[in-house]
């Protein structure tokens, strides 16, 4: 199991949705979502990593804290982003779209949307991590 998979498993076990959890602990939801999906690596900065783990209620010395730290260390240097192939990426494109005015999107808007979806499945640059 990866850091992200384990982190999400615990978060859901605690009954915390991504949105409420991130709001409660002032965590960037986009980044955490990418970490949990294996798109971004776990935080490299130890203070940030401890903060992420503490948000789940685990402090240094607890088995969960150590497990998460160990999984984060394992990912360091050998992290391979779960980048999607073009054929996999197409499957992530939306099929049901909720627009406020009920109008369909034109081709240009669909292209921009596809690009946005691609970004959601692409690793952030080091500056953003």
């Amino acid at each position: 199991m990866t850091f992200g998979e384990y982190y999400k498993k615990i978060r859901l076990k605690l009954g915390l949705s991504l949105r409420s959890f991130c709001k409660q602990f002032d965590i960037d939801a986009s980044n955490l979502s990418k970490i949990e999906r294996g798109v971004n690596p776990p935080p490299k900065n130890p203070i940030k990593l401890n903060m992420y783990i503490a948000a789940l209620g685990f402090y240094p010395g607890s088995p969960e804290h150590e497990e998460l730290k160990s999984l984060a260390e394992k990912a360091r240097g050998v992290f391979v982003t779960k980048g999607l192939s073009d054929s996999d990426l197409i499957k992530k494109l939306p099929v049901f779209l909720r627009t406020e005015d009920g109008d369909p999107l034109n081709d240009e808007q669909l292209d921009k949307l596809a690009n946005k979806i691609k970004q959601a499945w692409s690793k952030d640059t080091p500056d953003e991590l």
């Binding site: 949105r19 197409i90 499957k91």
Partner: protein, 177 residues
Amino acid sequence: MSYKRKSYSDLDKIASRFLRTNNQLKPPIDIDLIIERSGLDIIPLPGLKKEGQLSGALAGDFSCIYYDEREDEKFPTRIRFTLAHELAHFILHKNLIEDELLSTNLLWKAGLRKLYDDSSSFEKEADDLAGLLLVPSQLFKEFYGSGKTHNEIAKIFNVTTIVIEIRSRKEFSSTRY
């Protein structure tokens, strides 16, 4: 594509069963948690609304729901309805999507246009089920019967007043559809 719309009472049963299975028996319904525990990721996409007033979307492989993170900061209650609406598509409309639609970018666009032409029935259905998931009939009747205003009930269920008004019309209309 001919699509046979479900009746409102059928949707009511689907919502009740789904909420019971997910142990959501009191308001506000934690729609996010239900979605994630159903195996769907909720993925924030900042600026999604800029693309044609889009508030949310369900991925073709039914693995995730996208929502506008910036809209969430401004209107978190509205986003709850958007998420419930996409969950409703997940529950009801998986069989409407043909594999071919998700094979190339061009077919995706063509498929969306075709879906849009036939969409009024299942969009309406997704709206109805979303309302029933966020404001389940039995709970709604309890609070409605206690004499609370629409605004007070909306706060209890953490939805907009419009959702309560629509639920009220559907719930207490003489003919259910």
